[in-house]
C-alpha cells in the first residue's frame, strides 16, 4: 500500500510558487542566463577544439582542411564569437567567486558589476582581435 501511495504521489499537481516571469527583468538576471548560455555554447564548442587537435595529430592534409575552414569568413565569425563567449563566461565566473566569498552583494555594486560584465568582455574581444589584425 505504501508503494502505491508513493507512486501516486508523483502525479499530484502541487502548487508552484511564482518565479522568474513575475519579476521585473533585470540585467543581473539576463547575465545569469547568459552565464549558462555561454557555458552551453562552449560545451559544444569543444568539438572544434577536438577537431583542431585531432587534425594536427592526423597529419598535414587534415590540418589544412581545418585551417581552411577556420580562416573562412564563417570560421572567423566562430572564432570571434568564441572569444567573446569565453571572456563573458570568464568574467561571470570571477564575479561568482566574489559572490561565493560573500562579497559584492550591495545593490549598487551588483548593478555596477553587471554593467562591467557586459562591457569588459566586449572590450577584451575587440582588443584581442584588433591586436590580431594589427600584428598578423
Amino acid at each position: 500500500m505504501s508503494n502505491s501511495k508513493m507512486a501516486n504521489s508523483k502525479k499530484v499537481e502541487r502548487p508552484l510558487s511564482p518565479h522568474l516571469f513575475i519579476y521585473k527583468p533585470m540585467l543581473s538576471m539576463l547575465l545569469s542566463v547568459m552565464h549558462r548560455a555561454t557555458g552551453i555554447a562552449m560545451y559544444f564548442g569543444t568539438i572544434l577544439v577536438v577537431w583542431w587537435l585531432m587534425a594536427m595529430a592526423y597529419g598535414e592534409s587534415s590540418y589544412t582542411t581545418f585551417t581552411y575552414f577556420m580562416t573562412s569568413p564563417f570560421g572567423y565569425l566562430i572564432m570571434v564569437g568564441f572569444t567573446w563567449v569565453l571572456f563573458h563566461h570568464m568574467f561571470g565566473g570571477v564575479k561568482h567567486f566574489f559572490w561565493d566569498l560573500g562579497k559584492g552583494f550591495d545593490l549598487d555594486v551588483v548593478e555596477l558589476v553587471a554593467k562591467l560584465a557586459v562591457i569588459i568582455p566586449i572590450c577584451a574581444t575587440v582588443i584581442v582581435w584588433l591586436t590580431y589584425i594589427i600584428l598578423k
Partner: protein, 131 residues
C-alpha cells in the same frame, strides 16, 4: 538545531556532512576549483591559438610539441572538460524533469565530456611524442 529532539540524523552522519546525495559539497567545490584553474589555463589556450595563427603545419606541430605548451594544454583540457561536465550536469538537473530522460542525458553528458577530454589529450600526446 543539533539539540532538536526530532533530528533523525545520526551523529556520524552530521560529522560526515555528505547529505542525501552522499557527496556533500564536492560538486560545488570541484566546480569552483576547476573554474579557478581555468582562469589562467584558458588565457594560455587563447595565447596558443593566437601564436599558431598563420603558422605552417610544421611550425604549429613544433609549438604544441614543446613540453610546457603540451603540459599547459593538457591541464587546460582536463580542467575545462571536468568543469563543463559538472556545469552541464547542473543544467540538466535543473531543466530536465522526466526522470528517464534526465538519467539518459546525464549519462550522455559524462560520455561526451570523457570523449572530448581523451580525444584532445591523446592528440596532444601524439603531437608531442611524434608520429
Amino acid at each position: 538545531m543539533s539539540s532538536n529532539g526530532s533530528d533523525m540524523r545520526t551523529p556520524l552522519g552530521k560529522v560526515r556532512g555528505l547529505g542525501s546525495a552522499k557527496d556533500g559539497t564536492s560538486h560545488f567545490w570541484q566546480q569552483r576549483l576547476t573554474g579557478l584553474a581555468n582562469l589562467p589555463l584558458s588565457l594560455f589556450f587563447m595565447y596558443s591559438i593566437y601564436s599558431m595563427a598563420g603558422k605552417s603545419y610544421q611550425e604549429a606541430m613544433a609549438f604544441i610539441a614543446s613540453p610546457l605548451v603540451s603540459v599547459m594544454l593538457i591541464l587546460f583540457i582536463a580542467s575545462s572538460v571536468y568543469h563543463m561536465k559538472l556545469g552541464m550536469q547542473v543544467v540538466l538537473e535543473d531543466y530536465i524533469h522526466g526522470e528517464k530522460m534526465k538519467i539518459l542525458l546525464l549519462i550522455l553528458n559524462a560520455f561526451f565530456a570523457t570523449f572530448i577530454g581523451i580525444a584532445c589529450i591523446f592528440s596532444i600526446l601524439k603531437i608531442s611524442f611524434g608520429a
